[in-house]
Symmetry: C2
Subunit: 233 residues, 2 copies
Amino acid sequence: MAPRTRKPERRTEALSRERIIEAAVELLDTAGEGGLTFRALTERLSTGAGAIYWHVANKDELLDAATDAVVTDALALKPARVPGSPQDRIRAVALGLFDAIDAHPWLAAQLATQLSRGPSKSVTPRILESIGQQVRALGVPESRWFTATTVLMHYILGAAGQNAVNGRAHGPGVNRGEFFNAVSAAWKQLDPDDYPFTRAIVDQMRDHDDRAEFLAGIALILAGITAGRSRTP
Amino acid sequence: MAPRTRKPERRTEALSRERIIEAAVELLDTAGEGGLTFRALTERLSTGAGAIYWHVANKDELLDAATDAVVTDALALKPARVPGSPQDRIRAVALGLFDAIDAHPWLAAQLATQLSRGPSKSVTPRILESIGQQVRALGVPESRWFTATTVLMHYILGAAGQNAVNGRAHGPGVNRGEFFNAVSAAWKQLDPDDYPFTRAIVDQMRDHDDRAEFLAGIALILAGITAGRSRTP
DNA sequence: ACCTGAACACCGTTCAAGT
DNA sequence: ACCTGAACACCGTTCAAGT
């Protein structure tokens, strides 16, 4: 399984848009947001800068394409075919995005910015569709489709993003547990008069299970969708 | 009211951390995310780069400080003193953040990234506290405080952020209405087999009122919080 | 058609030197 | 203590030149 050659092997397959996007995702995953540079990319692909610009307009388009590729992959499990109730399928879509953002933390900021950019190229319709089809299956009246779906979407992306950032190393050798301990300690120093609530939930925050907490949030929103079902005819 | 001198007036007040943050916010507001550079800052403050570094550690700290200043300002209306029910006060906090993000669109991405960074310096406790105190006043059992508050927070920041991006010019001379028309047109071109839901809500999306839609989302979550109130003892 | 790689303009940050 | 501004390393992007 060890590579035969020790020097960075010469490119075998021709350069292509797909190959560039693949390398971009790898760089983002291993080196983070700031790790994606054209210089790092040219080295990894053993090519020149101009070659990349032949396949890709600029860095923004490359970031969009990387986001698109990863999100498409995350939603590829065809949630419509997952067995169970619409609620089950909403949880499946939510966890799919949760895991994707957990595996690719750079996705969080990217999705936040990109959510409503250029109409067609955006990943928004794909996410909206995956969630919305299940909202519809829930029996929500059409007049409330938009609200119910966007509430779910914003919560999913926000919570997953926060979780992903929490889970990453904050400095060398800082793991998840240490990070939460540090936050807890800092929050316990807050002025009790100004921050009674924050101090009260410190333990809840430190000890929570990310996934269970995420699903509790989904459940709360589903309850709100159901509660309002008969309100607007 | 016209300035007496035509040349950029020499600095009168001494440079200070506050003055630098103020100028940073102005640059972000007028020139956007990419408009904040140390060169633009030195010109506006008629000083040298080193002078800024004397008061501020680096660009990240400056961005954090700018975010902090604007959020503090947005929450300064002391929502606890706004008359009305806890629901009314939650709406007041939500609209305060909504308006702040609308006035400072760069806040959206900044908050998304910063939500859970360095424990103490973060704006998270301030936002959590403003919302959480009202959640508590709602009579939610303590075991559900964390979930209810984070769901509200993620929705508020996500929806407000999306709204802010939508509202900005996307290219020269593109206003809000034109932007939504363009998105609608693009979404109507989507494959009816793959995107039945998205196509169905196109009109709802184009014609919606931002503020009313935002408050409808808040109402949905409040319904979920209330619905679940008696579930967990 | 596809690729090379030097060159350009610009950026965040540093630091010896001034007051 | 506070400020100056040249210098450094690095970045995205361009483009004449190659194949």
